[in-house]
Point group: C2
Chain length 384, copies 2
């Protein structure tokens, strides 16, 4: 292993570069060639021989800071980039981290490094774990969430469900992420009715509950819909950054007129984590990038539900949500994707208390028994 002096400390407090680890395919020589290619491809996109000497060669081109063999026999490289190549803008940060090389095989973004001064340029989550706990008045136990569904129900029926969940003691009641502004459940009517129902149900239960409408919307509508939702009484927001772009979520998090916690949903992002020799790790994508982009919680499918995430993938997500990163707040992992009540004890064992459980369809079984199902859900975490 070789490592340059400039990036030896973690966290690094005193340089003008940030860095990321990449897993590279092939044998040692191939992996090293990939690391060198990455330094050019992610910055200047030029053959080395035509690069001007000085600033560009010395600072703008990515710098191979370390290259090593992993325990599994693969290779990984730490590459640093000049802070200023991002212009402090999130879309260009993502471009530098994984823009062009997303088009090549054998390059995986494994994690970004805790380069303190750089990550401080991003505000990150406004609430994070602590802020969300304070908002809800739940200092210790896992938080409980559910989704109103299925798509196709009229607003009054969705609101009825939302109200019953709130009365049943659920902390966070979110739109199913497929609810947007359909003719059969227009945003304004749905969000208004659901916010009202959650307020009433919550008062009835003597328990604080937040409603999170889905503001995944056309680019020129995301902020408007979020502000409107707040006026209507929404207490949080659901957004799919894979559909809106990560920076749309960042604008919601940074907006001082909104100040609502954000639940991020992974729709349309799965292809980043499904290939063994391309993509972004669960740790970096769902843990780190989501935090940099302002999510307060990241929803993802827990192992053994309807999706194919493995336990180690879920562990990576959870680890990434809390690893030190420029002082950005830790956020909640929110495992869901076909979780049933009977799996809660296992999830508790896996995640501990710093988690939001997301149980959707299973609370709707035996229609008339929603309140009973909610009560069971609540009791499962009451004493932890």
């Amino acid at each position: 292993m070789e490592e340059r002096k400039s990036c030896q400390k973690t966290p690094c407090h005193d340089c003008d570069r940030f860095a990321a680890w990449y897993l590279l395919g092939g044998d040692e020589a191939e992996a090293r060639a990939k690391a060198e290619d990455l330094c050019l491809e992610q910055t200047v996109e030029c053959p080395e021989e035509i690069l001007p000497a000085g600033f560009i060669q010395d600072q703008v081109v990515g710098r191979l800071e370390a290259f090593e063999r992993t325990d599994g026999g693969a290779h990984r490289a730490l590459v640093s980039f000049l802070d200023d190549v991002t212009g402090g803008e999130l879309p260009q940060l993502l471009n530098v981290l994984y823009g062009n090389i997303s088009l090549k095989k054998g390059f995986c973004l494994d994690r970004v490094r805790d380069c303190f001064p750089f990550w401080r340029r991003f505000k990150g989550p406004r609430f994070g774990r602590e802020g969300l706990r304070t908002l809800l008045g739940v200092p210790r136990r896992p938080l409980l969430s559910t989704a109103i569904k299925p798509m196709g129900l009229p607003p009054e029926q969705l609101a009825l469900l939302a109200g019953r969940f709130a009365a049943g003691g659920i902390d966070l009641i979110k739109d199913d992420h497929g609810l947007c502004n359909q003719p059969f459940a227009a945003f304004a009517e749905r969000a208004g009715r659901c916010a009202e129902a959650v307020r009433k149900g919550s008062a009835q239960a003597g328990h604080k509950a937040l409603y999170a409408p889905n503001v995944t919307a056309p680019a020129d509508e995301v902020c408007r819909r979020a502000r409107f939702a707040k006026q209507l009484g929404a207490g949080a927001l659901l957004v799919c950054p894979g559909l809106t772009g990560f920076d749309a979520m960042r604008t919601l998090a940074d907006d001082d007129t909104l100040q609502l916690p954000i639940l991020a949903h992974p729709a349309f992002l799965g292809s980043f984590v499904t290939s063994p020799d391309n993509g972004i790790s669960h740790y970096a994508l769902f843990g780190q990038i989501m935090r940099i982009a302002g999510a307060d919680a990241i929803i993802f499918p827990h192992a053994g539900g309807r999706f194919g995430f493995l336990p180690e993938d879920c562990r990576e997500v959870a680890d990434g949500t809390q690893a030190p990163l420029g002082g950005l707040r830790s956020i909640f992992p929110a495992p869901g994707g076909g979780m049933s009540l009977q799996r809660i004890p296992e999830l508790l064992e896996f995640y501990g208390n710093e988690v939001i459980f997301l149980v959707g369809g299973d609370l709707l079984r035996n229609g008339a028994e929603i309140e009973k199902n909610c009560e069971r859900y609540r009791k499962m975490v009451a004493d932890v």
Copy 2:
């Protein structure tokens, strides 16, 4: 093969559903189970047994219209969705097409079907091939483009390059997609100087050239930067929808105050096309979805350059840019990614005339000879 009557015609003019073909992994039984799973997962996200009868079961749930074995022995399914589940909004369209199943293996979006009335709900490319040819006054030959680079040059040097390319007869001169708003090349100064240089170089050559600054920017800046670019004299826009979200590009295309052609760059989208058992085909992603989202040309790496696209991948892109799709305009494939002048004859053979060639770094070799390189580039397409 079984196919329901409602979706038998292509294009289909008379129903309230749209449809897409998916490639599904596993043996016949597994593939069929995946097709059925997809119908639920992309819409109601609920187990079938708790779905209300009537509208939701009959119309909202995706409908398996056809299931067949491909020539290669795999399986594919045609699944239709009620138009209204998208609410006419592009982010939700992408969600319905590939949101949750992006998180599962064995599901690939292969192509969307030409469901005429549905695709007509999207305006698509404002210019398309014909409009861009008219703007440039080039009725027949392939269009020539290049990029100003490398990142790290100051605005005056980027502008010098842009001017020389314009004087050399290049039609479209774009920012390298890594140029955003860095301290060493701030957007306003760079775009202003480059637009001016292209105007002058173009006048000098007696040839129409367009400058396309990169407006890949924070969500709340994309439109502002594009409008500012227009004021400064930009003749086109470069955007990376993988970084901004597809709908940000759509807002640029639909903006009547802008009316500038859009070159789309594939940064951060590669993971959709690199896995054999997950993702979106080159045809659907770079051909169809780019059109639906308003691109007038799609940049992608041609086979045998710095990237690993295969010739058949590139053929798919080209086919997707022109296949009938609700009457949306055909757009240009713009193969690049390390193309050299000596490969132009081969590219001409491959793509024919309906193409934008993108040669970047190769025009910069032998520094002083940019004009000569441009002349060579121009001559290669002069007589076709």
